[in-house]
Amino acid sequence: MINPYWELVIFLVMINVIFTLSLNLILGYNGQFSLGHAGFLAIGAYGSGVATTALGLPLFAGVLMSIACCIVAAVIVGYPCLRLGGDYLAIATLGFAEIIRIVLLALPEKTFGGATGMQNIHNIYDYLPVPAGAHNGIINLIFTIVFSVVFLALTIWGVFALGNFLNGVLQKRFGGNFWRYIVWAGFVVLIIANLSGTKGTASVSAKPGIAGYVMDIFQFSNAMKQPSLESRQWLVFLIYGLIVLAVNQLIRNFLNSVPGRGVVAIRENEIAATNLGINVFWLKLQNFMLGCAFAGLAGALLAHTIPLIKPIEFGFLKSVDVLLMVVLGGMGSMTGSFVGAVSISVLPEVLRGVGEWRMVLYSLVLILFMLFKPGGIFGTNELSDIFRLPWLKRGRDAEASDA
């Protein structure tokens, strides 16, 4: 059992990884500067928060709503700004984040909490499957983990198959690879849906999530009792880790697809990309939408992880934080995002003694990195480019021998 303080730090690191990856997709891979990414995090957090509390929707619907809100917001900001070259997006997203913050403060306090924040959002622990009956702990722990892994693997496989099928069908209908990552996004949602029940209130009894129902079907619940606190904690770590990996895989797949390569081509040279027949604006907008959708996901997870969300937490400082994570790790490197997010999230805990100089150090790190190592720690390299491990190398060699 990890103590609650470090537990929260680990959760925040994982959420920050998703958040950083989402900005890296926009800034690192597409070269578009979003300086108000915290605004999308706020939309995600409040979207899911309001959906699950005021509207009483289950968790996965809340997450879906967060993502949908973020995509809509991304279109509103991105449509005017991405058409123009230059740095308009930076200033517009910065302004947008500010608008979001002000609007959140102005919205009705009963639902949105106002300046004091939303406190009544259900924690992720409330959504874990709740079996009935009373039995021993160790079996229960093993069972929970094994069951989750097996169930998730089945789901993944199912989504893969369904995704391939849908892609085949829809490609004929619409052309392009657009549906592919919608399906991938669906997969992430399903993982969450797996585990999402609704929290019980005085009037409504708690409903187990899909996993809970499945357990009931197989009558496993008779052999189980309420999982111990420790096993529940590991389960949540497992869920978050899987979501991080899924997001990582989604982005990697997207970047290796045809539109993904187009996104990178736009970063390298927009005019050349136009001449390759890429609809630059539309692809930039799609990419921006995708990045913001992941930011929404991170926001939704954040809302269900920390006890209180406040508009002031989603200010400019948060945007600079995530910018620093991307820059430190390396713009255009997934590994870099992981490293950046982990180090910047843990740094405040280390720098606790520095006090008010912490922010000065932050900004100095940002400037010095830009001056002396503008690519960040990893540049555009991945871990597999640096350590050529045999099992990581194989794919690359195969590509090379094909060419």
């Binding site: 102005a106 539309w282 910018l323 900004s363 940002l366």
Partner: protein
């Protein structure tokens, strides 16, 4: 039907944005707490406030527009240079009021002018330094790197400002200026006494060992108008922790311009120091008056024959007129400079093609540094004006006005000085009106809504020219 085309077509239909433009002010005024709409008086009043804000935004926007025009960099740190301008101006004004106005009798307006000029020079130097250290090494790397560095520099200045000046707002409110003359002597007749002056209630520490030789002390208030009587003698005894001499009411000298009510000292035996301080001194007529005030200390103003909401004639301080006039003169002069002078031509040439400009013999580094200097100086002037206008400054004051000024530069057309002026006025007046309608919270959101609308309908801004990007 192709999905992409469909979405794109739907998005191209931009009528709803037009509706937004029309609705925004209505919504803003409806959102006001008990907003009863505008009367003519309140409209004029808010327009005037907007005009002041607009001048300030225009001055800040100038720096953005020049720098962006030359090296295509959104200098995020510009708003913080404005903040530093306000702070240097604040401290310089304190300094000049104390040393020039109070002791030399030079008029307050000159003190203000001197502090504005010096802070403009300091900020110009700072802007040049910033360019030299942070932006010049990145001239050849990607624009994103430069932009991130600009964010970093801005962050550094803000947090540095918090550490240097403290996180709390500083207030310009009129303060009592006091100079105390202290005498220490070994005997009660003060024949060859040691003299010491202390300003403004700042306390001073003395070594106990030093004072034990000269235990007799007395004090008076001095100024250019005359000095008060010496206070009754205070005997500093190092054994006591605290000593106070109350001056009886009847002993307070009525004819002297200042009145000393009591003096005191405290003794810290551990550190071996004595702190001499004064409890009460009535020096009412040495308050710093507002700049542009009459002899009674009231702000000079004139009245418009229009009634405001409270039913009085609208009062316009002359200081506000000065703000607008100074801004207009500065903008006009810079416009001439950019359009007519060789410097302006070099600058515009440089912004179009840096290497070709080098081939023409333009010292590009110097021109860029000069551009930063001009922007920094204008921001400092704006900072000084805002400090005096709001009577309050804080280390984070630069963020929002900086952003709004950039929006103003975009609205007016980036790279154009008349554009900066018009954009600034649009931002200022819209903010004034929205605040006047009672929706003060929404004023900041309004600025960015305007930005997004402008980017939709006329991305090059009002005075902007369409330029093709070179292949």
């Amino acid at each position: 039907m192709d999905l992409y085309r469909y979405i794109e077509k739907a998005a191209r239909f931009r009528w709803w944005f037009l509706v937004l433009v029309v609705l925004a002010p209505v919504v803003a005024s409806a959102a006001g707490e008990g907003g009863s709409g505008f009367t003519l008086g309140s409209l004029v009043e808010n327009l005037l406030i907007g005009l002041i804000l607009g001048s300030v935004y225009a001055l800040i926007a100038l720096g953005y527009t020049l720098v962006y025009g030359v090296i295509k960099l959104i200098n995020f740190a510009h708003g913080d240079i404005y903040m530093l301008g306000a702070f240097t101006g604040f401290y310089l004004l304190r300094f000049t009021v104390r040393w020039l106005n109070f002791t030399q009798g030079i008029s307050l307006i000159w003190c203000f002018v001197i502090s504005v000029v010096i802070s403009a020079i300091l900020c110009a130097a700072l802007a040049v330094l910033m360019e030299r250290l942070a932006y010049r090494p990145l001239r050849k790397s990607s624009r994103i790197a430069a932009l991130i560095t600009a964010v970093g520099v801005s962050f550094l200045l803000e947090n540095g400002g918090i550490i240097a000046f403290g996180p709390n707002p500083k207030s310009y409110e009129p303060r009592k200026l006091e100079v105390y003359q202290l005498q220490f002597a070994g005997s009660e007749d003060f024949s060859n006494a040691r003299q010491q002056e202390i300003f403004d209630r700042t306390q001073q520490n003395f070594q106990s060992s030093e004072l034990s030789k000269t235990p007799y002390a007395r004090v008076r208030v001095v100024s250019k108008a005359g000095s008060s009587e010496w206070s009754p003698t205070l005997i500093l005894s190092m054994d006591e922790q605290f000593g106070l001499e109350e001056i009886p009411k009847d002993q307070i000298a009525n004819d002297s311009p200042q009145q000393l009510a009591s003096i005191g000292y405290s003794n810290d035996s551990k550190a071996g120091t004595t702190t001499v301080s004064w409890a009460r001194a009535a020096v009412a007529d040495y308050q710093v008056r507002p700049i542009f005030s009459n002899s009674e200390g009231e702000q000079l103003a004139f009245h418009l024959p229009i009634k405001n909401a409270a039913g009085d004639d609208i009062r316009v301080p002359w200081f506000n007129v000065v703000i607008v006039v100074v801004t207009a003169i500065l903008l006009w002069a810079l416009n001439i400079l950019i359009n007519r002078s060789m410097f302006g031509i070099s600058m515009r040439a440089l912004s179009f093609d840096m290497n070709a400009a080098k081939l023409m013999g333009v010292d590009t580094d110097k021109v860029i540094a000069q551009t930063f200097a001009i922007g920094g100086a204008c921001a400092a002037v704006a900072g000084n004006i805002v400090g005096l206008y709001n009577q309050q400054i804080d280390p984070l004051m630069g963020i929002l006005p900086g952003l709004k000024a950039f929006v103003a530069a975009v609205v007016g057309g980036i790279g154009s000085i008349p554009g900066a002026a018009v954009g600034g006025l649009i931002m200022g007046i819209s903010e004034g009106l929205v605040k006047g309608a009672g929706a003060g919270k929404m004023a900041d959101a309004m600025a960015f809504a305007i930005l997004i609308l402008v980017l939709l309908f006329k991305p090059t801004g009002i005075f902007g020219r369409t330029t093709r990007e070179k292949v």
